[in-house]
């Protein structure tokens, strides 16, 4: 077990350094931040000076080395555009993104699983057909379109819900939370639905497929033969076994939710990390972009690590093979 974890950790570090390298490499092509830092009235001398001050005149590998050394200490330097520490900017924005992703994930699970179960059990029914059709829409409509449609209907036409921002927040230490105010929840509804829809349909379809699969297996037939009630069969035996792969996917999707909140945050002016990233791209703010990508990579790597370990815990067969090594 220890060797297994150690090996996975080593892999994780290699992944992180590669991501950092690729991110940094890409940003050599996104443009020149100096153009945006200095106004149109800047003299050529000022431009040269700023470039030297920022270290942008140094070779790529020197810049990358500085970045890596600092990043290893959790320090991503300064945002070129905002002149503030990147780690602080990300720290300020993380709670907004995390809460949005969390609410979206819960929503997707709480709505998606029952829908999937229903669609599997009542395969031919009218409501199942509706679920399946709607889910197709959910998978195929782009996120920004869903967001704009929701804003149009619920904010502009009906005037029920706010169209942008996070509303009132409560500060719990450094964590600013919108989950403890009514205003915060009202602001949460539309973006959370927008972000959840894709996951929701995915989970629903996954649950349905898995459930159908499980219902065809022998032990369900035996259970039936033993005379167990439908309720015990469906929820006691079938659903339990269905949920193992669903949990794995959901774990990974939480990372995905955080990473792909970019579009939702842009549409709803949600003050999270995705919005910060988009703003950084506009102004070629390399340290912010690089730090964001590394953070997202880190989230994925950590979640993967946890999922791998949970597998070992859940499935005893893996324990043997991992202990023996590959």
């Amino acid at each position: 077990m220890g060797a297994f974890i150690l090996r996975r950790l080593l892999q994780a570090i290699i992944v992180m350094v590669s991501v950092a390298f690729i991110a940094f490499l890409l940003f050599q092509y996104v443009g020149d931040p100096v153009v945006f830092l200095l106004g149109q009235d800047a003299t050529p001398e000022q431009i040269r000076q700023l470039r030297a001050d920022l270290g942008l005149d140094q070779p790529f590998f020197v810049q990358f080395w500085h970045f890596l050394v600092n990043a290893a200490q959790g320090e991503f330097g300064l945002s070129l555009r905002q002149g503030a520490k990147v780690s602080r900017l990300l720290g300020e924005r993380f709670p907004a993104t995390f809460e949005l992703a969390l609410v979206a994930a819960v929503l997707a699970l709480v709505v998606g699983i029952p829908m999937g179960v229903y669609a599997a059990l009542k395969r031919g029914s009218f409501l199942s057909q509706v679920f399946m059709t709607v889910s197709l829409l959910g998978v195929s409509l782009p996120t920004f379109l869903i967001g704009i449609l929701l804003i149009l209907i619920f904010s502009v036409w009906l005037g029920w819900l706010p169209s942008f921002g996070r509303g009132e927040t409560v500060n719990l230490g450094w964590w600013s939370s919108g989950l403890f105010t009514v205003d915060g929840w009202l602001h949460m509804i539309l973006p959370a639905i927008t972000l959840a829809i894709f996951q929701l349909t995915l989970i629903m379809r996954l649950v349905r497929a898995e459930m159908l699969e499980v219902l065809r297996t022998d032990y369900i037939k035996f259970a039936r033969a033993r005379g167990l009630s439908d309720r015990a069969i469906y929820f006691g035996h079938a659903l339990k076994n269905t949920l193992v792969p669903v949990m794995t996917i959901t774990g990974l999707q939480l990372g995905g939710l955080i990473a792909f909140a970019i579009i939702t945050e842009t549409v709803f002016q949600w003050p999270g990390m995705g919005l910060l990233f988009i703003q950084a791209v506009t102004f070629a703010d390399v340290p912010v972009m690089a730090a964001y990508l590394c953070l997202i990579a880190l989230i994925f790597v950590v979640i993967n690590l946890i999922v791998d370990m949970l597998y070992v815990v859940v499935d005893p067969r893996l324990r043997v093979s991992s202990a023996g090594g590959h």
Binding site: Y29, V30, G31, D32, V35, F36, L37, L38, G39, Q40, D41, A42, T43, P44, Q46, L50, D53, L54, L78, L80, R81, Q82, G83, A84, K85, I148, I151, L152, S155, V156, G159, P162, S163, F164, G165, R166, T266, V267, F268, Q269, P271, L275, L276, I278, Q279, V281, T282, F283, A284
Partner: protein
């Protein structure tokens, strides 16, 4: 008894009227509350409600007294300013000449982004507590306009808060001035959450009269245009800008309206007139843009009215000059475009030796000016009628500007708004022969006419206003006769406003909260 009742009713009405809140959404946010930290319109506009300068603008964009009550030239290079008395900063400190001397040094010093405005200022001297002299290196007839965005801060406050120098973006030394503000302006900052929300309240101790009735301003950045439109349409904000061109008609009905006006910025096209062979063209061994006939053919082949109608949806003002109304030096007589004439253009091309045209690459930003990418497409389509095949290279501003600024282009689009509100800035930045001192720094096609350069130098030092205006006119004439650039239009400002709100739109896109009135319904 009745009187008392009426009195209390009146008081109630007044208190309702005085509790006016206005919510404003802009596509971006001020990066800092430090008024010297960034030379950018939005940043300056937001801060101008909190910090004031010696001279400012009135509702018609004329220079007007703010913290100085009057000024005069005591010699060609010295201006004397009489400072306003009984002005207090938000923290209660009285405003004096020491604050002015301090603020000019701060704005001209290390870390400041406003340095360029003060490059010509040699010294700022205190004469007495309420009088200062500003000496310039050379005669500077437009000094009051040049310093109209130099904000005055409190010396005492800056010293107490370790904010003697502006935040240096390079070193990340943050100070109080980037998050808190202490100006003399009609509004104070109550709460600041960068990129989320900034709240302003009316300054009850303001020295002047505040025309509007707004007590509180909530400023929110909303980057996505459709979200911004939705926020206004649903009544969650009262004012927003800019309005996307395609939404102008829709927002002009119901509870909202769109206020438009010409912006100071002029959009134009430039051509490489220096290299002997264009970098990106089918013509080898020579540079067709060195031939005035080719430049004129390009000019006359562009259907500017078509662009105005179909792409800009009337939100533009076609121009013949590199400056628009509102800029000192603009004049209506000169502002007459060469006619749109495809046949004439074809003939010019044939005369120049390109009867069947040629191929050239055009560089264009897609997210900097209003509909920039589409305008370039329209120009390309127009030029195809005279046989010119345009390879359009449209890209985001992040990569576009570094490319054209290193002059890696043959044919490009640019927009310019003079920060001094004066034609000299345009002439020296865009049309002067390029050197390494900053002249012609944005003359990206290196157009050069020594005769024009001479006139520009004269304009710089001429203090007699009528003579100076005549020189500017002469300079524009030389540039127009050469067809140095192809001016297109001044784009329009478009502010979406609730019908409850009255405000003043300035051509430099500044929004003053003191001129906003919310009507009671």
């Amino acid at each position: 008894m009745r009187l008392a009742l009426m009195g209390s009713a009146l008081a109630a009405m007044v208190s309702v009227a005085s509790a006016q809140t206005v919510r404003i959404a802009n596509q971006g946010d001020a990066l800092s509350l430090d008024p010297h930290s960034l030379n950018e319109t939005l940043q300056l506009s937001v801060n101008a409600n909190v910090y004031e300068s010696l001279a400012g603008r009135d509702k018609k964009m004329n220079i007007a007294p703010l913290l100085a009550t009057s000024w005069k030239q005591t010699s060609p290079t010295v201006w004397r300013f009489d400072l306003r008395k009984n002005v207090k900063f938000h923290d209660g400190t009285p405003f004096t000449a020491d604050d002015v001397v301090f603020s000019f040094a701060r704005a001209a010093g290390e870390g400041s982004d406003m340095k360029a405005h003060l490059a010509e200022v040699k010294e700022v001297r205190k004469v007495d507590d309420h009088t200062i002299d500003i000496e310039t290196r050379a005669p500077l007839p437009i000094l009051p306009a040049v310093i109209s965005s130099t904000a005055i801060m409190s010396k005492k406050w800056c010293e107490e808060n370790q904010a003697v120098r502006p935040v240096d973006k390079r070193k990340g030394i943050e100070n109080t001035a980037s998050f808190k503000a202490n100006g003399t302006g009609p509004f104070r900052v109550r709460e600041r959450q960068p990129n989320v929300r900034t709240t302003f309240t009316r300054n009850p101790q303001y020295w002047g009269k505040i025309d509007g009735n707004v007590q509180e301003v909530i400023f929110t950045p909303i980057a996505s245009p459709s979200t911004r439109v939705a926020a206004l349409a649903s009544g969650q904000v009262d004012i927003m800008e800019p309005v996307p061109v395609q939404d102008v008609a829709r927002l002009n009905s119901g509870n909202t309206r769109v206020i438009t006006g010409p912006e100071l910025r002029t959009i134009f096209l430039g051509m490489d007139q220096k290299r002997d062979e264009l970098l990106f063209s089918s013509v080898k061994g020579k540079n067709p843009f060195k031939d005035k006939r080719v430049r004129q053919a390009f000019y006359q082949a562009i259907d500017i009215d078509g662009i105005r109608k179909t792409i800009m949806r009337d939100a533009s003002r076609p121009t013949a000059l590199m400056v628009g109304p509102g800029v000192n030096g603009w004049n209506a007589e000169q502002d007459k475009r060469l006619p749109y004439d495809v046949e004439g253009a074809k003939k010019l091309m044939a005369d120049a030796g390109y009867p069947s045209g040629f191929e050239v690459t055009m560089n264009c930003p897609t997210d900097r000016y209003m509909n920039d990418g589409q305008i370039c497409q329209a120009v390309a389509a127009n030029l195809s009628k005279i046989g010119v095949k345009v390879n359009l290279q449209a890209e985001t501003k992040g990569t576009y500007f570094p490319r054209v600024l290193r002059r890696d282009t043959s044919f490009y689009m640019l927009g310019w708004a003079p920060t001094s509100y004066d034609a000299h800035n345009v002439l020296s930045s865009l049309t002067a022969c390029a050197d390494d001192k900053g002249n012609g720094q944005f003359n990206l096609g290196s157009y050069c006419n020594p005769k024009l350069d001479e006139v520009i130098k004269k304009i710089q030092v001429e203090t007699d206003q009528p003579k100076r205006d005549a020189l500017i006119r002469e300079a524009f004439q030389i540039h127009m006769d050469d067809i140095g650039h192809l001016p297109l239009h001044q784009q329009s400002l478009a502010w979406g406003v609730s019908r409850k709100v009255d405000l003043v739109q300035l051509a430099d896109n500044f929004m003053f909260f003191k001129w906003i009135t919310v009507k009671n319904k």
